[in-house]
């Protein structure tokens, strides 16, 4: 790695000089026992019950002492230091862990404060390095610094990390109107929370999954009550007898839907209360949380693009969500890349425009993928649906109820196909590759050209017959790639060549009489179906 330039101030007047191991905030002595008690609650209850039963009072006292001692030990054995271009954390009594990371590998610094922390004015600092490790023990968490110190430490770490890195290639955010370079006074937030957004909570895919699960459960319950079996018999008398069961089922379903909505809304409010997104000191800062507050920052230089997500439910209700594609932050760290939780489309759009610094990638009409791509959407949706229909028609000879799915399946597939075809599109504007696809979960990816590492061009035999390819731009953030599905081959290569001419141009074939079929199969019959 490149050495930090000379004269760079040591990160952290927070610590007195490099090499000083220091303890976390002493107030953690109050937090740890509470946390340990909660963690050991089942065991403690067991001890308590056993103690009462046996009449031995001493055991109970000992049981209550355990979490206090554990908390004390945790405090005494944990220390950290920031200095000499490194962040280090030492912890553990029996199994000593020493975590150490160079400052220039620091990618995110998140501040989290549980209610207990907040009561005592403390905050947990989580230093993110984009490591692939998911081991809880290998996280660099400084659990318990005074909120003021934590905030200063975060600023210093992010600034030091930025100074130690070589100048990034032209990334997103370089043309950011907010990026003034000097620590500006806190600008008004780009997005500020409105409790009315919680109406979108039951409509997200997670909400729908919950509802679907409840639906399945209800059907099973009905089945267990004998309702479905009676309906299956198909005779009128039985169906009339079954009506009360149906009504009861519908009522139950409604109750479950209401309950799950309430759960979703309260979950949304707890997680996102007080949400703000603002820009200061060359980074985007998020703050949210009703009980446990979370503050995350995304460095401008690491912001490679954004993804506007519209799950079907949200889309129908006029909502959406926004996530950042952050270089060096994988898919597993999604919580760090949220830019706007489910919110009205206008809010999401304006946030995306502000974050990108330009409006066009969010608003520009996309180049459509044409008739071949549309046809492919239809065949791919209708073929399985027609198989389902055929199977249902066979079963319909036994029970007329199977006629329902036989009719519904192709209709749903047609709606899906039309919507998926409508979604397909791509564009290249203001230095961003834009692509949109999907119906049940529609996403519009906006990726800075500078963050595109390379290209993958995929095609199955069927796609080649239709003259289509799937163009994939690889990147080092988010889902690691952004795909333009089923785009005509020439349009795909035009997009790639215009986005990264130096990379793609040398490989383009401009000779006028190139053979249309460039990679014949072994006997020449493999691609004979191609016109």
């Amino acid at each position: 790695m490149t050495q930090p330039p000379d004269g760079r101030p040591e990160p952290g007047p927070v610590v007195e000089g490099p090499g000083d191991w220091q303890r976390l905030d002493p107030r953690m002595l109050l937090v740890h026992p509470v946390q340990e008690t909660v963690r050991l609650l089942p065991v403690l209850l067991g001890v308590l019950v056993a103690g009462t039963a046996s009449g031995a009072r001493g055991w109970q006292l000992l049981g209550l002492l355990v979490p206090v001692v554990l908390g004390l030990l945790r405090y005494v054995t944990t220390s950290y230091r920031v200095g000499g271009g490194r962040v280090e954390l030492r912890r553990g009594l029996l199994e000593r862990h020493v975590l150490s990371t160079p400052v220039d590998r620091v990618r995110t610094v998140d501040l989290t404060a549980s209610p207990v922390h907040r009561l005592l004015g403390l905050t947990t600092v989580r230093v993110g390095t984009g490591t692939a490790s998911t081991d809880e023990d290998e996280r660099l968490d400084l659990d318990g610094l005074p909120a003021e110190v934590a905030r200063r430490l975060r600023e210093e770490l992010l600034r030091a990390a930025r100074a130690a890195r070589p100048a990034d290639p032209e990334h997103a955010g370089a043309d950011d109107p907010f990026a003034t370079g000097t620590p500006a006074p806190p600008a008004p937030p780009v997005v500020a929370f409105d409790p009315a957004w919680a109406r979108f909570a039951p409509l997200t895919s997670t909400g729908l999954v919950v509802v679907a699960g409840l639906l399945g459960g209800t059907v099973q319950l009905l089945d267990a009550l004998g309702g479905l079996r009676r309906l299956d018999a198909g005779s009128w008398a039985d169906r009339v007898a079954g009506v009360p069961v149906l009504v009861a089922g519908a009522g139950l379903l409604l109750a479950l839907a209401v309950a799950s909505s309430v759960l979703a809304v309260s979950g949304y409010l707890v997680a996102n209360w007080g949400f703000t997104l603002g820009h200061a000191d060359r980074a985007w800062h998020l703050r949210r949380g009703l009980l446990t507050t979370r503050e995350t920052s995304i460095d401008d230089a690491r912001l490679a693009g954004v993804t506007l997500g519209e799950p079907l439910g949200l889309r129908l209700a006029g909502g959406g969500r926004l996530a950042a594609i952050v270089t060096g932050l994988g898919d597993g760290q999604e919580s760090s890349s949220v830019l706007v939780p489910p919110a009205p489309r206008a809010v999401v759009g304006s946030a995306a425009r502000a974050v990108l610094g330009v409006a066009a990638p969010v608003d520009v009409p996309l180049v459509r993928h044409g008739r071949a791509a549309t046809r492919r959407r239809w065949t791919r949706a209708l073929l399985p649906a027609l198989l389902v229909t055929a199977a249902c028609l066979l079963l319909a000879t036994r029970s007329a109820w199977w006629l329902g799915p036989a009719v519904v399946a192709p209709l749903a597939a047609a709606a899906l196909a039309a919507d998926r075809a409508r979604a397909l599109g791509h564009a290249l504007t203001d230095g961003y590759v834009v692509t949109r696809s999907g119906s049940l979960y529609r996403r519009r990816h906006v990726l800075a050209v500078g963050a595109v590492i390379g290209w993958n061009v995929r095609s199955t035999w069927f796609q080649r017959r239709a003259g289509l390819v799937t163009l994939v731009a690889t990147t080092a953030g988010g889902r690691q790639s952004v795909a333009v599905p089923d785009v005509p081959e020439a349009a795909a290569l035009a997009l790639a060549a215009r986005a990264t001419p130096a990379l793609v141009e040398p490989f383009l074939d401009r000779s006028p009489n190139r053979s249309p079929d460039r990679t014949p199969g072994p006997t020449g019959t493999a691609t004979a179906g191609r016109p």
């Binding site: 070589p166 270089t327 459509r368 390379g454 061009v457 995929r458 990147t475 035009a494 490989f507």
Partner: protein, 175 residues
């Protein structure tokens, strides 16, 4: 028609510009390796299926079943490695690495040398028998690894040395 409805027009498609093929094929011995591997795998699969069928005793094994299975394996061995060999190609220029792999589903990958993170050379037990090696080039994206299977061993060595030298010449962490 769709395009005009949306008010957006496709880029002129008068003379579509496509990717030309990467320059180099892999070693012809790779085709032999794939054929042998496919044959061995097919034989083992049939053997295991036969054993299971005889042990379970649920299905009566008939000669025509074995004949069909053998024919399928032979057909696969005759067509797929050859097809794969016709598709697999690679190229390294002053600025980029390219590969083309697959047979039914094909994939071309392009990565700039400036974004290379690791260059890996692997020799499987079977590949060693044929004097072949696999070179894998990774970038900072988990979706962007380029794999050249079935390279002549000495060529692979040279390629790794060259790619490593070029990747070293670039500053930064290549993300």
């Amino acid at each position: 028609m769709l395009a005009s409805v949306a008010g957006v027009i496709h880029p002129p498609a008068a003379d579509p510009v496509l990717l030309r093929e990467p320059r180099h094929r892999v070693s012809p011995r790779a085709r032999l390796m794939w054929q042998v591997t496919a044959l061995v795998e097919g034989a083992v699969t049939i053997g295991v299926l036969l054993l299971v069928a005889l042990a379970v005793d649920a299905v009566e094994v008939r000669w025509w079943m074995i004949a069909v299975a053998v024919a399928a394996v032979l057909g696969w061995v005759a067509v797929v490695p050859q097809w794969r060999y016709a598709v697999h190609r690679w190229e390294v220029t002053a600025t980029a690495v390219r590969t083309q792999t697959g047979w039914w589903a094909r994939e071309q990958r392009i990565a700039p040398l400036s974004r290379i993170q690791t260059v890996d050379r692997a020799e499987g037990a079977v590949a060693r028998l044929f004097g072949l090696a696999t070179v894998t080039v990774t970038t900072a994206s988990a979706a962007g690894a380029l794999e050249i299977d079935g390279l002549d061993r000495r060529l692979a060595d040279d390629l790794v040395a060259e790619l490593t030298a070029r990747a070293d010449a670039v500053e930064g962490d290549a993300t």
